[in-house]
Point group: D2
Chain length 245, copies 4
């Protein structure tokens, strides 16, 4: 098996990441700048650093009750190693949780130049296509994390045609629908990442980086509480006598 | 199932992390500061931020050939979703790769007050106990990432009794052994995390946070190269006719 | 969190699976029969047992070089617990490896009543839609596992309209294409599972059950060989100086 | 990377498993016999087949509330692919759930020839060493699955010195303790696998094979119920204002 890479070169006891010596990066650059470097191939401007930093912080945790944190804590409660519990937590993400940014970016890259947004919304409603990045179980009116990110994007002059389109699209959805549907954090990050020129295939990447510390904090809390392995109580399980097929 | 948590509180459309409103953290704090907050419960000083930042950057990648990156790329080459490939990559870590910091921290917390280090080394040699955090496949003389971290720890006046003990212990190993055995990056991080007052159960946590972007960069590279699913060539498999039992 | 289930009922120190006491199943039924029971809700006939047994045996292993076995062995070589290495191996499956049966079943259930198969093939070629379940890297002419399964399905009189359609479709592909494209094991299992009346969502399930022992055998072999952690040699990594973006 | 294997040889379009052509195995052998072959290198006797079959059936499911099934269902509820949800479920196993057989086998292989069992029990109690394979959350008096397996092992004349020692040890624990502590299913399987001559490193393997169908049945049930992504209700989360450190 042969692998070609452009990310990291290890030579003569030196490690070079995208052309920069790791030893220098360790001393001179922030974690966020080096994350940007890994995916873009160049170091970010100060504004890009602030924007990416804000997205990572916005993603960092959302409590123990979401699928990813639950899985991480359950696996930790079985006394698995921290890294195994982390893997389990990550498998709690899925099309319904955390990875919607990718779909949002694909949607924006395909549709941003359309002008009849009302027509687009009604066509998608007719086809029952649900665009990822809108709506949230807890934040039903507005997702404060999304709003904070867009506000910052405006201040940093990163808010561009993709973020603008996302808002026009959201307004049109809400005009055609009876209940409000906010842009959620995945959607906001997707729109802003488009405005920063990232590939749609990176649409879940920064959320995953941002949330990893949160999952690990829940694993650590589970380890320190050490209340034994988690399981449902009998009262939480209802047996229904139905044949599977 | 009931979960108690002290990490994140979500109330009235506000998310509060360890007593700080997420909206404020997004605008005012760096990702590294909020990571520190998650695990310690308070915000770091400037020096602590620099130190933790350096450890995260030092961990960020080590090329495509290590077990974790290989697993991540193989899983991505089967066209799994980014988050599933990340989980697979994380399961490439293990007692032999990436998680040694925890063992190092447990060792340091148990032994730091011993004064007969020569006796300790010869006793461990006799018992064939291998302390995690020493030695590296590529960096056989010295691990430049470990050295960069210790240098910074000295500059920041974080280098304390645990880092000092790790060096004394390493010197004694090398005095009693014919081939040099450096402190590796896991060991350096373990020693410094002790000096920063972190719990030994967090001994692999910061490495996992630091390396997650590296795994995701390899997943993205695999997705963009798209050379089909990876497998060993026939020439890389040798069939040996041995009965299993 | 509340979960409704119809699978297993635990009451008064008795465990009842789909209406059958586990203690009786342990003594009277084969593993394959109870697997069938789990998913169908009733016990299989002798013919159905033979057919399902054959599919599970056919799936059991395909050597150490495929993505799933590679991942399992790499994770085991890092000295992870057997179950963690198994999880890693399972994440080596993906749309390009092992889970094509589901797509095949969805295809067959949607198209089995079409009569213009030549037209269907040319339309799919035009749309560049690749139906899962056809073609194999090693078995380019014919997949002997698929052929053995179809032969048995005929003997057991399970070979029905779905298996027949799969062959007609394959013949038409080969008539319109220059290189032969066999039905692979995933495709054969998909077609036969349709003829047995299984839901398309179970299209990867029986392959996963069948291959799990194979992955565990590779993990065990890796543990007994114990050659240290696996990684690519320097000669297997090529650094190419390209910017990521 | 080079891998040596003795499991499967693929040559001239033929696949040979431990010296047996897969095509023949598909037609002539049961899944359980081929599982035995994979790990032992030879085909089992009729009695060995019955015993292994019983262990696999006994392991097949234990309801939706245990950590592994919960994780599998949560991951499936996020709409992950079946194989990803299965990996998540497997990461719900751990030292406290499902993998105790390995520890039991190591214990039995080390201690089976000791004659002062009362002394051994009191020594272990003093050292606070808990031998894995004893005790169960639901089955507090006796684990009916364990009893069914031991009964069958006696009938098949497989019940030997390891199973006998396990019972003597259990009786001694119960003589020295106020509350009854049964041999659980992991312990029973561990003892019987010792009597069948299996390596202790296979101590969790057959449980994992046996339970995989159960996890997949829960994943399928979750997919068919499709009640949306699972999460804890607000009432199930209690925020406690404690600093982490």
């Amino acid at each position: 098996m042969k692998i070609k890479t452009s990310i990291t070169k290890i030579q003569n006891d030196k490690e070079i990441i995208r052309g920069h010596e790791l030893e220098n990066l360790i001393q001179e650059k922030s974690f966020v700048e080096v994350i940007y470097l890994l995916f873009k191939g160049n170091l970010p401007t100060e504004k890009e650093t602030k924007m990416l930093n804000a997205m990572l912080v916005a993603s960092i945790d959302h409590g123990p009750g979401v699928a990813s944190a639950l899985n991480a804590r359950i696996s930790a409660s079985a006394q698995n190693s921290t890294h195994s519990a982390l893997a389990s937590g990550i498998l709690g993400f899925g099309p319904r949780h955390g990875i919607a940014g990718q779909g949002m970016m694909e949607f924006l890259y395909s549709h941003v130049d359309e002008t009849d947004i009302a027509g687009l919304v009604s066509k998608l409603k007719e086809l029952k296509v649900r665009v990822p990045g809108f709506g949230h179980k807890v934040f039903t009116d507005a997702d404060p994390r999304a709003e904070a990110l867009f506000k910052l994007a405006k201040n940093l002059e990163i808010f561009g045609k993709y973020s603008k389109f996302a808002h026009q699209f959201k307004n049109e959805i809400n005009a055609q629908s009876s209940r409000p549907l906010p842009i959620n954090i995945d959607g906001a990050m997707g729109a802003i990442l488009c405005d920063m020129g990232f590939d749609a295939r990176l649409g879940q990447t920064f959320f995953l980086i941002g949330r990893t510390p949160g999952l690990l904090a829940h694993i650590y809390e589970e380890q320190t509480q050490d209340e034994g392995i988690r399981r449902l109580d009998e009262s939480e399980i209802e047996f229904v006598n139905v044949t599977a097929d």
